[in-house]
Amino acid sequence: MSSAALAPPRTLVGQTAAPGLVLGRIVELDERAAPVGLPPVVPLDEAIAEAVRQLRALRDVTDVTDDADAQRLIEFQIEFLGDPTLLEPARAALAAGADAATAWCRAIDAQIDDFAAADDDYFRHRVGDLRDMRERVIAVLTGGSVGALRLPPDAVLLADDLAPSRFLATDWRPGQAVLLRGSSPTAHVALLARARAVPMVVGLGDMVIEPGEWAIVDGGAGTVALAPDGAQRADFARRRACADDEQRREAAAAARVATTHAGERVQVMINVATLDELDGVDPAICDGIGLVRTELMFAAGPPDEATQLDFYRRLLAWAGGRPVVVRTLDAGGDKPMPGVTVDGETNPFLGVRGVRLSLAAPELFKVQLRALLRAAAAGALRIMVPMVTRPDELLQVRRLLAQATSELAAEGRPFASAPLGLMVEVPAVALSLEAFDADFASIGSNDLLQYTMAAARDNPAVSALADAAHPGFDALLRLAVKTAAARGLPLSLCGDLASRPAHVPRLLAAGLRSLSVPAAAVGAVKSAISEWR
C-alpha cells in the first residue's frame, strides 16, 4: 500500500516499440545533463582541436560542386569551434573546477539557447548545427561514445526521445526499459531496442511522471501501469513467469533450422548495426546477416577506409562463411548526418537520401565501396544499395564499383568482386523489378510501407495507416515475389515486418522464403514459421 500513498494507479497507453515486461522505477533523462560517470580523458582544448580536424577531413571529402551547402555548413562549424569567444563560459566553468564535458556543455548550451530563441528561421535552424558540434566534442571528450547513460538496474528511463548513438553507448541490462514521449515504432532507436531486447514504449505524448515512481512496462502491449497496486504486481509476476517460459521455448526454436509446417525451408538471417550486438549471439541460429546497417559507423563523421574494412571483416569472421549483406550508407530521411545530409528539406523522406545521397557525394561513397571490395576477399560479402528508384542508379553504382576495382588492382591490394543488390523500398521499384540489373533484392518493408500507404513512419498520428494487412500492400508484395521468381532473382525481406511473429504468416503466404530479423527475434520468428501451414 505504500506505493498507493505516493500516487494513485494509472495506465498510460503508447505504441509498442520493443516487447518485454519490466517492473521498475522511473528515471527521467535530463537531455541537458553532461554525460555522467565518464572520466575527462582529453582536455577541452585538445577535444576542440580534434573536432575541428574531423570536420576538416569531412570537408575535404565533400565535393564542392555537388554539395556546396554541406561544405558551407562544415565550414561554419569549423569557424565556430575555432572561435575562442565560444569557450569563454567554459573557461569560467573549468576555473571553478568543472570537468571538461560539463564546461563544454555550459558554453555550447548557452549558444543553443540563444539561437533557439531567435525570431528568424535562419538563425533558429542553426540549432541543429550547434547540437552536432555539442555531440561531436562530447564524443571526443569521452573517447568516442556519445553520452552513455549510467542507469540503476531497475531503471525505466523516461525521455522525449533518445538518440540512437546514446542508446547504443548505454550498457542495457535485463530489468530496464525505455519510455519515450515522442518517436515511433519504426524509428531507428526502436529498431535498436528490439535488437537489444530492451522493452520500449513510444509515442506516449506529453505527460509528467514523478521520478522514482514504480511502473510496470508492457513493451508488447505498449502500456505502462504507474504506481501498480498489489493485484497488478501479482499479475505482473504471473505474466513474467510465462514470458520467461516462452523465452526458453524461443531459444530452443532459434537453434533449429526454420521450416514451415509442411517442411519447406525458410531462410532466417539477422539484422545488425554494430559488432557488440553480436555479443553472445550464436551464428548457428541464423543463415547469415541479411542486413548490416552502416549509418552508426558514420555518426561521428565518415570513417576512413581502414576503419570500415575492419568492421566488415569482423562481421564476416563472425558469420563464419555465411553470407553478410552490407547496405551502403543510408543517410537522410529520418537519419540525418552532420555534414553529409542536406539540411532544411521540406520532406526528407522524399528527398536526398540513401543512394541519391551517395551518388551526389561519389568520393565519400567510393571509400565505402573500396572497403567493401577489399573485405569481400575475406568472405561471402554482398553489397546492397538503399533507396534505388531508377535502373540507371544501380548502373552508376556498378560504374563506381568498376572504378574502385581498377584502383585497387593498380594499387596491388587484395580484393574480390561482390554480388550487387538493391533494396525494394520505392513502390515503383516493387512494380518493375524486372527492369533492374541486380544479383539479388531485399524488401525494406518500413519504407515500402510508408511510401505505399503515404504514412510517414516518424509520425505517430498516422502509424495506424501504415497497415501491412492492406490489400494494396499485399498485392505489391506478391507482384515483387512473382517477378523475382520469374527472373531467378533471390528476394528477401529485411524490414521490421519480418520480426513481428503476427506478420510472418502474411509474408510466407505472399511467397517470401527469406527473412532477415533482429537477433533477438529469431526464436519467435522461427516458431511462427514452423506453425505456418
Binding site: L73, F76, E79, F80, D83, Q111, D120, Y122, R126
Partner: protein, 97 residues
C-alpha cells in the same frame, strides 16, 4: 584604443537571409586578414562586436535590410573598413577562402 585613428563607415545589408552562417563566416575570415581591431554593430550607437569572432557576429542575428556599422582601429584600419563595406555591398561574394 589610444594609438591609431578610428575609421568608421556604414553599409546597408541586403543579403536576403541577413548576416547568417555563410556571410558571417566570410566576413570574419576577411576581418582576420587585417591587423586592425575591427568591429561591427547594427546601430550607430552599438553595441559593437568583434568582427573577427563568428560567434559574436552570428550572435547579433542581424536580419536583411539592416544598416550595418563598421569601425576599425590600427595600422590598416582604413583598408579593413573599406574591405568589409565592399564585401557587404558585393553580397558576400569574393571574400577570402
Amino acid at each position: 584604443m589610444n594609438n591609431g585613428t578610428m575609421v568608421e563607415d556604414s553599409v546597408l545589408l541586403l543579403h536576403a537571409a541577413g548576416l547568417h552562417a555563410r556571410p558571417a563566416v566570410t566576413l570574419t575570415k576577411l576581418a582576420k586578414t587585417f591587423s586592425a581591431r575591427v568591429q561591427i554593430a547594427a546601430a550607430a550607437t552599438g553595441p559593437w562586436v568583434d568582427a573577427k569572432s563568428v560567434v559574436k557576429v552570428m550572435g547579433m542575428k542581424t536580419p536583411a535590410r539592416t544598416q550595418l556599422y563598421v569601425r576599425a582601429e590600427g595600422d590598416d584600419a582604413a583598408a579593413a573598413v573599406a574591405a568589409v563595406v565592399k564585401l557587404v555591398n558585393d553580397d558576400f561574394i569574393g571574400g577570402p577562402e
